[in-house]
């Protein structure tokens, strides 16, 4: 029984990590069809923003939940204006530009912070369940992931901005003919997606630590989750993260963590072979 609870919590934690890693990418790719290859570095930047703020005396929660998303959101707004805006509709050019950006960010952060792992210890201590112990912070992250998905759904479904964003995503030319400025919508969307990546980077920093090259570890999983999820930004990400997170954790429990990662990748490959449009390309097509 205790073992089962721990297993479920581990699965929940793996799913939450995937949701956090990929939600910013899902927003930017899903709404704008922009492939941001610097996504992993946006997470990395969020981690450094949180740790730097914390080391300068900012409360840890404030550093993770406010400073990190704000810093990366602002950075994203600048990147959108200077780079992305000029490359809309040019998929390959955008990928090349954001890849260049990711290399530049890694280089810059290495110069400033050095090529060493920085870390903060996870807050909230640990929780015992029967004979087992688990970090309370990991349970907190499960709550955050759920909260983000629900909040995102509420914004898209019930707010004026959500309506305009959905309409613009479906037909930017028609949205413009009705009086919406698509590039303003894209600018806000990119900044929001960046801020979500910053938040995720900040929140994951206590678990994984940060090094300038940590983005590489994030971006593969983030892309796999978003592509497997398909067209629906939120439900696609949630379903794909649940599926892949569960497979990863179960394989890790049964074998080793390396085989857990392998199982995740194999599952994604099989999934995309069967459902090339992702899960929500086939099921739940009207979902958000």
């Amino acid at each position: 029984m205790d073992y089962l609870v721990i297993l479920l919590l581990q699965i929940g934690s793996a799913v939450a990590s995937l949701v956090l890693m990929s939600i910013g990418l899902a927003v930017i790719f899903g709404m704008m069809r922009v492939i941001n290859l610097a996504h992993g570095e946006f997470l990395m930047l969020g981690g450094y923003a949180a740790i730097t703020a914390f080391n300068h005396g900012v409360n840890l929660w404030l550093a993770m939940v406010v400073v990190a998303p704000l810093a990366v959101g602002l950075f994203g707004a600048v990147v959108e204006r200077l780079v992305i805006r000029h490359l809309y509709g040019r998929l390959i050019d955008t990928m090349l530009a954001t890849w260049g950006l990711s290399l530049a960010m890694i280089g810059f952060v290495t110069v400033v912070f050095g090529n060493t792992v920085s870390g903060i210890s996870a807050p909230l201590g640990s929780l015992s369940i029967g004979a087992y112990r688990t970090g309370a912070y990991e349970i907190f992250l499960i709550g955050v992931a759920v909260l983000l998905l629900v909040a995102g759904w509420l914004v898209l479904r019930f707010t004026r901005y959500g309506l305009i964003a959905r309409g613009t995503m479906q037909n930017p030319a028609m949205a413009a003919a009705l009086g919406t400025n698509p590039s303003a919508v894209y600018a806000v969307t990119f900044a929001v997606g960046s801020a979500l990546s910053g938040l995720a980077g900040g929140l994951l920093a206590p678990l994984s630590g940060v090094v300038p090259t940590i983005g590489a570890a994030y971006i593969a999983k983030a892309f796999i989750t978003v592509i497997s999820g398909g067209a629906a930004i939120l439900s696609g990400t949630a379903i794909a993260a649940t599926l892949l997170g569960a497979i990863n954790t179960l394989a890790t429990f049964a074998f080793t963590s390396v085989l857990g990662e392998v199982a995740l990748l194999v599952a994604a490959v099989v999934l995309l072979r069967l459902l090339p449009q992702g899960i929500t390309g086939r099921f739940f097509r009207r979902a958000l």
Binding site: L163, I164, R166, G167, Q170, M174, A176
Partner: protein
């Protein structure tokens, strides 16, 4: 209201429209008649701003909009019902209309008036735009346009692929709009009967040029119309 002079445009390097000029007065219903491939849609898309004008001027409601971005033209009161309707497929009928009101900076309060004018939509407000029939989509496209409270509406072939009973309904709707709201409308069509029953005057477009105008009192004269258009009235 709309004053177009020497307007040229096209797709990339291929010119389609050559120095088109015409004027539309406030409250007027102007038809532009032409076959497929004569440049009707290109003309409207250039006025809306989806295609860049390579020469000429577009004055609308007192300002020169030839190089203004599409959304700014819309905010000035230029309404557009495009070819193929371009309904947002994943938004419900209601949300398609709310999207238009929100894009124009208006509240949802405009929706009631539009639904009173187009009551057919009331029973399908919750359905996704993508599953509607062509006729329902056409009426929704018109409703969506009205939700932005435009001063002038550009209508691109509203009869294309629509069953005859709905065409009759669209004619009634447009006649009522013209009579009650005093909306200014520019209609491009190849359906001669449709354009004749609605327009105050009809311009002829051929190979990207305005080649003539059928005066209002001759619109009923089949032979004369056929002569102008170079096609038989049916």
């Amino acid at each position: 209201m709309l004053d177009i002079r020497g307007l040229s445009s096209g797709y990339h390097k291929i010119p389609i429209i050559f120095g088109v000029s015409f004027q539309v007065a406030a409250g007027e219903f102007v038809g532009i008649l032409g076959h497929n491939g004569m440049g009707k849609t290109t003309l409207l898309r250039t006025i809306v701003g989806q295609l860049p004008a390579t020469a000429g001027a577009i004055r609308f409601a007192g300002s020169d909009i030839a190089h203004a971005p599409t959304h700014r033209r819309a905010r000035l009161g230029l309404g557009y019902v495009p070819q193929g309707r371009q309904i947002f497929p994943g938004l419900s009928v209601l949300d398609n209309m709310r999207m238009a009101a929100a894009s124009a900076g208006l509240g949802d309060s405009v929706l009631d008036g539009v639904l009173d004018a187009l009551p057919r939509l009331r029973s399908i407000l919750g359905r996704p735009g993508g599953v509607l029939s062509g006729g329902e989509q056409q009426i929704l496209a018109l409703a969506r346009c009205l939700c932005a409270e435009p001063k002038l509406i550009l209508l691109d072939e509203p009869t294309e692929g629509i069953q005859p009973s709905i065409i009759e309904e669209i004619i009634e709707i447009l006649q009522r709009l013209k009579g009650e709201r005093g909306v200014t409308i520019v209609l491009v069509e190849q359906n001669l009967d449709f354009i004749r029953r609605l327009s105050d005057r009809v311009l002829i477009i051929q190979k990207g040029r305005m080649t003539g105008e059928i005066p209002p009192d001759h619109l009923g004269d089949d032979e004369l119309v056929a002569e102008f258009v170079g096609m038989s009235a049916h």
